[in-house]
């Protein structure tokens, strides 16, 4: 493919809409006669609702109804009807199903009124009497009773390979340690919201905050016994989601329920506090035991994972696969057990399992490298994996060595003294640390439609999402490139269930999946355009095959003689004013499954730690990424920068605090739940190393939405060790842990 648009740093095509406020989000679509719902959440973590008194709320003028388990309409019977596309094995939570309380802040009523303020006031007047039962939310004390789930959502450990126990026992150099990762909440800027527009015939248009409209449509149709034609789901913009929008959240269910009952359009928006009432990244403890030869060869690896889940669904994520992807080791034993608590089911959050697993793996490896007296990069080079040992497959491409090389050079790593506490500046101890990581580069099945109208303009569409990652922009680039027309002549549409099918935007696979569908649809259009161009009077392309022409500058021209050309406009004029329309469904090539497909990253970090006060400043970060072909260096860089910033939060700040007496997450707002602020972020450099990959997908591009975060927290933790000589194995690393 010749590149005019692909590979060019391109501003977001939706940037203007976003900064001017014209971009509309799920809670912003206004329709006449809209009613507003406000959710009442449970004060207790476990028990039953003995009595729920809505009379005071209903007395308020302008309050339409308060829905509870007592007055809700009949439900569709089967459990499976409440399963969305991202549901873990188990029995999904059903809002207002009965009087049982399964977790703190469980939605238990919806007050609906003429205005948001009235609804909120009415919600505060609902009186609830509970019958409490003893709850248990204590992760630590339940680790002993962790269990192996019947079915894993994801991250099922491979069978052991080699002789892990013997190899470990006889390894001359060993380390072991428990590494703990806190519970975290996604906290996108935009709160979860659904605006459900009710039409006289009972059909619904649903504006939902979701990472894939098809999931909302499926969920609503199944849960409410409706037909797909009756439910159109629209979600053109998503103000960040990070996984929180993979599953339809309870505000959707409640808004649909209210709209159908009241025969009226209803909006339900959650508050920031309520954003802590559903899924989160599970608290996870990992027990590592590593053994190496004196020369630094990794001989044995054992990883036991204990991760939080709810009592009704078995959530699990890819925590244990990373050792087999990132290190060559002949003797490995992995386990992943779940710790069942009275909490809501955890939920995928940016690089689910990767952020958690790679943190612990990379800290443990750093400890081992230190025990060996080896430079951490040298240690990793020595144990470089040439294949994914979980599946025994070669990599489709892996330029991780180049990431080390370029990252280390930019950072100045060769000047590093291995000795901890060897660099000092005033009160500050300076530490340099590194870690590497990987993230899957998958492709799924998707459809796209391309339409060229007689004015030569192209519209491409697919029911995918843009959660702020730049989908609109990148798809526009791919389409413009394929037809050789300017970006301005291309419109990309997404976020509408009436468009061709696409999967959830998650797992860093949208460019790969939808991008491939877009390209295929545009390729089909090329064929049609060439045929039309050949019909143009005296066409110089009559004899030409697709391989012999190029599409560029709005023209179709002969590769061999570029002056021989027909413009797309001229070609279109042969189509009697009609548009060309092509819809395709693309799926991964068969040979993909013969390979392990991953993006890779190496991250180098400098920290300054105040020796007396324990405050940490991350002064420099260099992240070198091997992500295949970079479609848009600008949005790509933003993804990595965002990952680095989040990694700083993971390492030092993010922690949803559970009060085990109350069974409740307590720091449920952004004053108390800390994420990095500008003042926490200093020099950050992003490098994309060149990587060719003809297997991952026809574009050669790997996803970049998650790779940026995975290696940051361990690199920081390792730098803190280098600075202070203190190994903190429990995140976040706050100043008290360094005093």
């Amino acid at each position: 493919m010749k590149t005019n648009e692909i590979g060019k740093p391109t501003n977001r095509v939706d940037g203007r809409l976003k900064v001017t406020g014209e971009a509309k989000y799920a809670g912003e679509f206004n329709v006449p006669n809209l009613a507003y719902g406000f959710v009442v959440n449970s004060a207790i973590a476990k028990g039953k609702i003995k009595k729920i008194d809505t009379s005071k709320a209903l007395e308020v003028e302008g309050v339409l109804e308060v829905f509870t388990h007592e007055n809700r309409p009949g439900y569709v019977w089967f459990d499976k009807n409440y399963k969305d596309m991202d549901a873990p094995p188990g029995s999904p939570f059903r809002p207002l199903y009965d009087n049982e309380i399964k977790f703190s802040m469980q939605p238990i009523a919806l007050a609906v009124a003429e205005t948001f303020e009235l609804a909120r006031y009415a919600a505060s007047l609902v009186r609830i009497e509970y019958e409490t039962s003893p709850h248990d939310t204590d992760f630590e004390t339940n680790i002993e009773s962790a269990y192996v789930p019947e079915e894993y959502k994801s991250g099922e450990p491979s069978e052991p390979w080699g002789q892990p126990d013997q190899a470990l026992a006889s390894a001359p150099v060993q380390i072991e340690g428990d590494y703990t990762h806190s519970s975290q909440h996604h906290n996108p800027m935009e709160m979860h919201a659904s605006t459900v527009v009710w039409k006289d015939d009972g059909k619904l248009t649903v504006y939902d905050k979701i990472q894939g409209v098809m999931n909302t449509q499926q969920y609503v149709t199944h849960a409410f016994g409706m037909q797909p034609e009756e439910v159109q789901v629209i979600s053109p913009f998503v103000g960040g989601a990070f996984g929180s929008g993979l599953r339809p959240q309870y505000q959707l269910f409640l808004a649909v329920l209210a709209a159908r009952e009241l025969k009226r359009s209803v909006r339900v928006t959650l508050t920031r506090q309520q954003m802590f009432s559903f899924g989160h990244r599970p608290k996870t403890m990992q027990r590592f035991a590593l053994g190496a030869s004196k020369e630094g060869k990794l001989e044995a690896l054992k990883q036991d994972v204990f991760a939080e889940t709810s009592r009704f669904e078995n959530y699990s994520e890819d925590v244990v696969i990373w050792a087999g992807v990132l290190y060559k080791c002949g003797n490995v034993k992995l386990s992943h057990k779940l710790v069942e608590l009275d909490v809501y089911t955890p939920l995928d959050m940016r690089a689910p399992g990767g952020t958690t697993g790679i943190f612990a793996l990379e800290c443990a490896m750093d400890e081992l490298a230190y025990k060996l007296g080896m430079d951490p990069v040298e240690f990793r080079l020595k144990n470089y994996s040439e294949k994914d040992q979980n599946e025994d497959k070669p990599f489709s491409s892996k330029e991780l060595r180049e990431c080390y090389r370029q990252g280390a050079e930019k950072f100045g790593w060769e000047k590093r003294n291995l000795e901890p506490r060897s660099m000092k500046e005033g009160h500050n101890l300076i530490g340099w640390g590194m870690a590497h990581g990987a993230w899957e580069a998958n492709q799924a099945q998707a459809s796209a439609k391309a339409v060229v109208t007689s004015d030569g303009k192209l519209t491409v569409s697919s029911a995918t999402a843009d959660i702020g990652t730049g989908t609109y922009t990148v798809m526009t680039q791919i389409a413009a490139e394929t037809l050789g027309i300017p970006l301005d002549d291309v419109t990309f549409k997404l976020g509408d269930s009436s468009l061709p099918d696409a999967p959830l935007e998650g797992g860093s696979k949208t460019v790969s999946t939808v991008g491939t569908a877009v390209k295929s649809a545009c390729d089909k259009v090329r064929e049609r355009l060439l045929k039309l161009a050949q019909q143009v009077k005296d066409s110089p392309l009559v004899e030409a095959s697709l391989e012999q022409v190029i599409f560029e500058g709005g023209q179709i021209s002969l590769k061999s003689e570029s002056s021989k050309a027909v413009s797309i406009m001229a070609a279109m004029s042969q189509n009697q004013g009609k548009a060309i329309e092509e819809e395709v469904s693309s799926k991964p090539a068969d040979n993909q499954s013969d390979y392990a497909r991953y993006a890779h990253v190496a991250t180098f970090v400098e920290v300054k730690v105040d020796e007396d006060l324990g405050t940490i400043k991350v002064t420099r970060v260099v992240s070198a990424v091997a992500g295949g072909r970079i479609i848009n260096p600008k949005t790509a860089r933003s993804q990595i920068l965002g990952g680095v910033v989040w990694g700083i939060g993971v390492a030092m700040e993010e922690d949803t605090v559970m009060d085990n007496n109350l069974g409740r997450f307590m720091n449920h707002d952004l004053d108390k739940y800390h994420i990095p602020v500008n003042a926490d972020v200093h020099d950050v450099e992003v490098i994309f190393v060149e990587e060719k990959d003809e297997i991952v997908n026809p574009l050669g591009a790997k996803g970049l939405g998650e790779i940026g975060i995975v290696s940051v927290a361990p690199a920081i933790a390792n730098a803190v060790f280098h600075a202070t000589g203190k190994r903190v194995r429990e995140l976040p690393i706050t100043l008290d842990k360094l005093l």
């Binding site: 959440n41 303020e117 006060l613 109350l662 307590m666 707002d669």
Partner: protein, 331 residues
């Protein structure tokens, strides 16, 4: 939010009348704390008296050679005021270590002193909290208390006062001017906030009918040697785990006068004049600063998650005094 009536006061007397006209009345100034608390039903005033139009928005010289900060001067205008910056840089630094630029533009000096605790439980009406609802119990003592107090606590409440500004004012020995039904009175800043005792619902010694009209700064501003050191979980937009307002008056190497106030450790800015006096006439050395630090945490008590604050407070005091000492004295 609970329904309320609203009025705008046109002078101080009218404000006092209005606030006493109905039980459950409250003043509103910048609203940056009160409105947040109203939205989540922690504050439920029935009547709001808007005082933002009162003529209390200037900074003036006092007869004693100090400055008078009107209660309605914003935190931003105070911090960036030329005279404040020149004569009371400790105060400017403390203010600028708090909140964000946007908040400081709205927040007033009077409101800052009366902002309420940031204890997690106080903010969640579904949990027991003696400060919010007397008699319900304190969730924090046996719950999550990382941010909470180590000094002057009671079995009923271990909340901290979150203001940075008040810590500097305590070190500077500022006084608070208030007016109520019975006229005007002056409360030393250090006596303005109270300890929780068995009535943690009452934060300060201000009476319900009283309005703050001004904060007076005495002439001595320690502009040569001072530090406001704020330790927190991120570099900005976070309340102090521990903060120290330190000020020194040094002659040669000998301390003439020292001031130390701690924030983030108690229900009020924490000052121990006897401990400060340990430095009087002594050389300004790390060893002597260490003694002051030890004296400040005498009797401190941790509740688990916040145990570290005892050690942190000591180290912070020493660091702040060393920094103050090492400042280039202005000529």
């Amino acid at each position: 939010m609970k329904n309320f009536t609203y009025t705008r006061a046109n002078d101080v007397a009218n404000a006092v009348d209005e606030v006493t006209s109905e039980k459950g009345s409250k003043f509103i100034a910048g609203g940056t704390n009160l409105l947040d608390l109203m939205k989540i039903q922690v504050e439920r005033p029935s009547h709001l008296v808007d005082i933002t139009r009162l003529a209390l928005d200037t900074i003036e010289e006092t007869a004693e050679g100090g400055l008078r900060l009107g209660a309605l001067v914003t935190n931003a205008d105070t911090a960036y005021h030329e005279e404040v910056g020149k004569r009371y840089p400790l105060l400017s630094h403390a203010i600028l270590a708090g909140a964000t630029a946007q908040l400081r533009n709205m927040a007033t000096d009077g409101g800052n002193l009366l902002q309420r605790t940031r204890c997690y439980y106080f903010y969640d009406t579904d949990t027991p909290c003696n400060k919010r609802e007397p008699g319900t119990g304190c969730s924090a003592i046996k719950g999550y208390n990382r941010d909470l107090a180590i000094l002057g606590t009671s079995e009923h409440c271990i909340a901290t006062h979150p203001s940075d500004m008040a810590v500097a004012l305590a070190a500077l020995e500022a006084t608070v001017r208030v007016t109520g039904k019975n006229g005007e009175r002056i409360i030393p800043l250090f006596e303005f906030h109270r300890l929780p005792g068995d009535t943690p619902n009452i934060d300060t010694n201000l009476k319900p009918d009283e309005i703050i009209t001004a904060i007076d700064l005495p002439a001595k501003g320690f502009a040569d040697r001072y530090t406001y050191l704020k330790l927190r979980d991120r570099a900005s937009y976070a309340f102090a785990l521990v903060s120290v307002a330190a000020a020194l008056d040094i002659d040669g190497d000998t301390v003439k006068e020292a001031r130390v106030a701690l924030g983030g450790v108690a229900h009020k800015p924490w000052r121990i004049p006897e401990a400060e006096a340990l430095l009087k006439g002594k050389p300004a050395t790390r060893e002597n600063f260490q003694k002051v630090a030890e004296a400040y945490v005498q009797g401190a008590k941790g509740y688990g998650h916040n145990d570290f604050k005892i050690e942190l407070a000591k180290r912070a005091i020493v660091r702040a005094l060393l920094q103050a000492k090492e400042m280039e004295a202005r000529s």
